[in-house]
């Protein structure tokens, strides 16, 4: 491999095969020839577009958490629940483990993820590394698989159908906010955040 410096190289995370990095065209995906894992993906979103996406997601997230998710009609009475209603209910019903899981995967982790990304991108816009850049990038890596908002949308759907057998169930605004959030999360999931390491120069750290 001679004189190539390590930054021009790319190592497959799944099988350790070494590749020489090559620029990707629009929509191109580089896959590993040995194990067929995805190596790198080109995405057309610039820092500004990403930041806009994150801010939108944050707003939708606030709405998804403030508004009731489902409303139940029972003999003229209406009762609805928000995400925090769910968390508190599980805590009180002796299922604290579940309560903590719900709070972490549906509230704290997604919120942290969006706030951290927003912070990093805000500074990246000016071509600078945000204060705490390295630590936040590492934290984002570990936070990766522990957000489950999209599973919750499907869960709400199942809950509505189940409750429908006994009550009048009305999907409330929160569920639509969650659906929109899922869409935004799916778009964001396609973005390789590791590129921020290269995009933002180190000297400004």
């Amino acid at each position: 491999m001679g004189t190539a410096s390590p930054t021009t190289l790319l190592i497959c995370e799944h099988c350790d095969t070494v590749y020489r990095r090559r620029p990707l065209g629009r929509g191109e995906v580089a896959t590993c020839a040995r194990c067929q894992a995805e190596l790198e993906r080109h995405h057309g979103l610039g820092v500004n577009a990403l930041l806009a996406l994150i801010l939108t997601a944050l707003i939708v997230f606030v709405q998804a958490n403030m508004w009731p998710i489902v409303t139940l009609g029972l003999s003229g009475q209406l009762s609805g629940t928000t995400l925090w209603g769910v968390i508190i209910a599980m805590w009180r019903e002796q299922a604290q483990v579940v309560s903590v899981l719900v709070a972490a995967t549906l509230f704290f982790f997604p919120l942290m993820k969006m706030a951290m990304l927003g912070w990093l991108l805000w500074f990246a816009r000016a071509g600078r590394r945000a204060p705490g850049f390295v630590r936040l990038m590492v934290a984002l890596h570990y936070l990766g698989p522990w957000t489950m908002s999209e599973v919750f949308v499907l869960g709400a759907l199942v809950a509505i159908v189940k409750a429908h057998a006994y009550f009048d169930v009305i999907p409330a605004p929160g569920i639509y906010a969650y659906a929109a959030l899922t869409l935004l999360i799916t778009i964001l999931a396609g973005v390789d955040l590791r590129q921020l390491w290269d995009d933002v120069p180190e000297r400004a750290a």
């Binding site: 491999m1 390590p6 930054t7 190289l9 790319l10 190592i11 995370e13 799944h14 099988c15 350790d16 095969t17 070494v18 020839a33 040995r34 194990c35 067929q36 894992a37 998710i69 489902v70 139940l72 029972l74 003999s75 009475q77 009762s79 609805g80 629940t81 209603g85 769910v86 508190i88 209910a89 599980m90 019903e93 299922a95 483990v97 579940v98 899981l101 719900v102 995967t105 390295v134 990038m137 590492v138 890596h141 570990y142 698989p145 489950m148 599973v151 919750f152 499907l154 869960g155 709400a156 199942v158 809950a159 159908v161 189940k162 409750a163 057998a165 006994y166 009550f167 590791r194 390491w197």
Partner: protein, 217 residues
């Protein structure tokens, strides 16, 4: 196949956290992950550099077995009680699926069945197969096994579906006088199963699949 060099052969190492390619001393035992100590740190993000995830076999086995032990009460114990004026009904995962099927939404029943039964079972079988075949250095169906691992990683957390359903129903129905929904211990074990299988999948190192004898490569 010499056209596809691997990192260790070139004296390189990839940072597991940030992906940075670093030069490493070939054969340095501290990089192999099993000896604890002052191993090299990634110059970019500061994480410890390892050739492989530390103690991958032992950790994955331990987490997988723990998950399986949790999975038994998760299925046997009821996960939710629905009580109304005239009857009390304790639901297990399976009886919940059956009820959903009978009450007229077979498509959702299939989704719940897939998420809470098929996905965890697939994870036990898949991770077990990966562990055994990689341990033996088997060259059998390597590309397919690599794909299987990525599938396990991708679909793992969808098993949380039923836990969220129980939680939502509890919050929704608990305030009404006529009926009550209560979570039962099964749901706690189920939540733990999901978390443990996710941790097991994360501690397995897919590079082990490619580490054995290079017979058919």
């Amino acid at each position: 196949m010499s056209a596809l060099p691997r990192a260790a052969e070139l004296g390189l190492i990839a940072c597991a956290v940030c992906g940075q390619v670093c030069r490493a001393v070939p054969g340095d035992p501290r990089l192999d992950g099993d000896s604890v100590g002052d191993a090299m740190a990634c110059p970019r993000c500061g994480s410890t550099l390892r050739r492989r995830k530390p103690q991958s076999y032992a950790r994955t086995w331990a987490l997988l077995i723990a998950a399986f032990i949790m999975y038994i009460p998760a299925n046997v114990l009821p996960i939710m009680r629905t009580a109304s004026l005239n009857d009390i009904d304790d639901n297990t995962i399976i009886s919940g699926v059956v009820e959903l099927w009978v009450k007229g939404s077979p498509d959702l029943a299939i989704i719940v069945f897939t998420a809470s039964i098929v996905v965890p079972m697939l994870k036990f079988l898949a991770l077990g197969t990966l562990l055994v075949s990689s341990w033996r250095g088997s060259g059998w169906a390597r590309v397919q096994r690599a794909k299987l691992y990525r599938l396990v990683e991708l679909i793992g957390y969808w098993s949380m579906l039923d836990v969220f359903v129980v939680a939502l129903l509890t919050a929704l129905v608990r305030f009404s006088v006529l009926s009550l929904v209560e979570p039962l211990p099964g749901v706690i074990f189920f939540g733990l199963t999901v978390v443990l299988t996710m941790l097991a999948a994360m501690s397995f190192d897919p590079r082990l699949i490619w580490d054995g004898k290079d017979t058919d490569d």
